[in-house]
Amino acid sequence: MRKREVVAMILAGGQGSRLGVLTQNLAKPAVPFGGRYRIIDFTLSNCSNSGIYTVGVLTQYMPMELHTHIGVGSPWDLDRLNGGVFILPPHQKASGANWYQGTADAVYQNIPFIDAYEPNLVLVLSGDHIYKMDYNKMVAFHKDKGARCTIAVTDVPINEAPRFGIMNTNDDLSIYEFEEKPRHPKSTKASMGIYVFDWQLLREALIEDANKPESVHDFGKNVIPAILERGEKLYAYPFKGYWKDVGTVESLWEANMDLLDENDDLDIGDPTWRVYSLAQARPAQYIGNAAKVQDSIVVDGCEIHGEVIHSVLSTNVKVERNAKIIDSVIMPDVYIGENAIINKAIIGSNAIIRKNSVVGDGRNVTSIGLYEEVKAGMVAN
């Protein structure tokens, strides 16, 4: 196998239980986003746009749709002669079979995969963040600082800092302390869950961690603190730009709504940093005579006869006459019947919203699960 300078490992196996019905049968990274994407498209596109063409995707929870989506990786130009994208589910070994016990264990169990490419650096990424990032810049920073581990951080408001893993740094951005969800944060540098490691260091740290019975085998909770304790050089890489962990129904809804903002920081249309996805062969969208579409984004395959206000419609959504969709995210293949009202909701793929029903009350975000049916005249909040 040809040697690679950087190998990326994308953590995509978590259950995403805070997304409730939306991830009941679906891995979080495979959750549809922004009309024609799935969440993992952002990380995969970042890899491809950064020229990192050897990518392992660690999957475990409900992986079928995720695996189907990634396929051989051609939408992201990750079907390569040498390297490319590899789906790495838990597997049986001579020593036995284990599920991935945590994020660190998932990478630990795939040490032979990484070894095969003899990389200098390993980039550990999350499959459930919405952002555009040039990983080369972070790698350059890592080398520049002579770091052994670099953690990307984003500035968060101080009152939100207790929700994050916070990096306390010296003036030169070297990290002297890591606090997981501190009650009294000393800094606003929140870890984005994006790490660059010297592979040899990470390799040792993973083996060490695997042998600790008390460890939960998590990067944030175990591996990073252990590396810090060893006195290794850790640096915080300050990332500026849009970044969102879409781990909750609320944040998933917000991130979708952000796309409707005219001054949207994410700018998915940026021609120099395309976001790629598996495209479907659906006819172009049709907007009917009685339709009204305002302040919204709509994609191929949609057929709209009703009213769509400030919403995100995904592939193949049908909206019947007099239906009204406000401040909502409609995932692919959803049917919305006549006179239905959807107000501040996320409707999961293939759901059927029958006529005269009401979903959402405009206050909290309501979510309807995949393949769920809201019967005619029903109210679902």
Partner: protein
């Protein structure tokens, strides 16, 4: 499935009446229906029928076609063995006929493993199940099957198309042309199914006798020698052989009832996919009865129109009965009626352009209307 049949798409099509759109491209690669090219319909029909070896015999000016076809993956025709191939006509002589280029590539026909050959054109826009044609052909035991459609709107929709003279038993007795005399006609869809050996025999004869420059004329002249039968197609059909026909067929697609006859769930129409962002409907837009492509940004009024991807409709612009190709920018306050705007044209703010409903005005590619001083 038609594993034993090869598809040959013959792009030796008459483009004289649609030159406004074929200056930089072949008729086969004219954009249609918001995200497709004309050739996508026949390619998808072949692919959906399970044809795994398709040769496209192209003409000059085929950059846009080869860009579009690529390795054939969108139609599931990127195969290790066979799959899709594009053959160019000679670059020396721009107006050679199909026999010349078929004969030059005789090895392709001889070496292909398939027993049958389906020769088609690209400009017949339809969604046809070729398995039915093959079943019909085998059942009849005849030499050649030609696909036709019986229409009662020949004057309006099939002007200058070929017609078939079919006898009571379904035998083809002759071929002619619809010059708009009658409304009822049997329109020849220029799809010919036969054993590959018959095709090669016809081709060899064309070359040795020098009698025909177009293979279909050889077929029509052999009706006494070969048993030629007609297969009736009953689905939706339009022939894109003129600018008017293109415009009319496009506008018809805004009718969801017609649209659904062409874009079937069980036999999808495939096309090259792109990484375009969703279409954005900004404040102040009003879109009615229109087809909109991904990546478009709409701030004005769009009625009864087809917008391809990445089209920008400026504030206060009013677009009526128009077809706007990929990447075109329609400036603020423009008023366009019955216009076809080619790819990436930039119409300056405030322009008023009007075509006729039977004769749309085409704004050609890369020609900016000069801003008034």
């Amino acid at each position: 499935m038609l594993k034993k049949c090869m598809g040959v798409i013959n792009l030796d099509e008459n483009e004289d009446m649609i030159q406004e759109l074929t200056r930089n491209r072949l008729l086969a690669s004219i954009p249609i229906a918001g995200r497709y090219r004309v050739i996508d319909f026949i390619l998808s029909s072949l692919s959906n029928a399970g044809v795994e070896n398709v040769g496209i015999f192209s003409k000059m000016q085929c950059r846009s076609l080869t860009d579009h076809i690529g390795d054939g993956r969108p139609w599931d025709l990127n195969r290790r063995v066979e799959g899709i191939r594009v053959f160019n006509f000679s670059t020396l002589e721009p107006r050679v006929d199909d026999v010349y280029s078929f004969a030059n590539n005789i090895e392709y026909f001889e070496r292909s493993a398939q027993e049958y050959l389906l020769l088609t054109s690209s400009y017949m826009v339809c969604n046809i199940d070729f398995n039915e044609v093959m079943d019909f052909h085998k059942r009849s035991g005849d030499d050649i099957t030609i696909v036709y459609k019986h229409v009662d709107d020949a004057q309006d929709n099939f002007f200058l198309c070929e017609t078939l003279d079919i006898d009571e038993d379904g035998r083809v007795e002759g071929a002619g042309r619809n010059i708009g005399k009658d409304n009822e006609a049997d329109i020849c869809m220029e799809m010919y199914l036969m054993k590959k050996t018959i095709f090669i025999d016809l081709l060899t004869e064309c070359v040795t006798s020098g009698r025909f420059r177009k293979i279909k004329n050889a077929i029509y002249s052999s009706l006494d020698r070969y048993k030629v039968r007609a297969f009736e197609y009953k689905g939706y059909l339009r022939c894109i052989n003129s600018l008017q026909a293109y415009y009319k067929a496009s506008m018809e697609m805004l009718n969801p009832r017609i649209y659904k006859q062409l874009f079937l769930d069980e036999r999808p129409i495939y096309t090259k996919t792109t990484t375009e962002v969703p279409a954005k409907y900004l404040e102040g837009n009003a879109v009615k009865n229109s087809i909109i492509g991904n990546g478009s940004i709409i701030e004005g009024t769009v009625k009864n129109s087809i917008l391809f991807r990445k089209v920008h409709i400026g504030k206060g612009a009013v677009v009526n009965n128009c077809i706007i190709f990929q990447g075109a920018t329609i400036g603020d306050g423009c008023k366009l009626t019955n216009i076809i705007a080619d790819k990436y044209v930039d119409i300056e703010p405030g322009k008023e352009l009007k075509g006729d409903k039977d004769m749309p005005f085409v704004v050609a590619k890369k020609r900016e209307l000069v801003r008034e001083v």
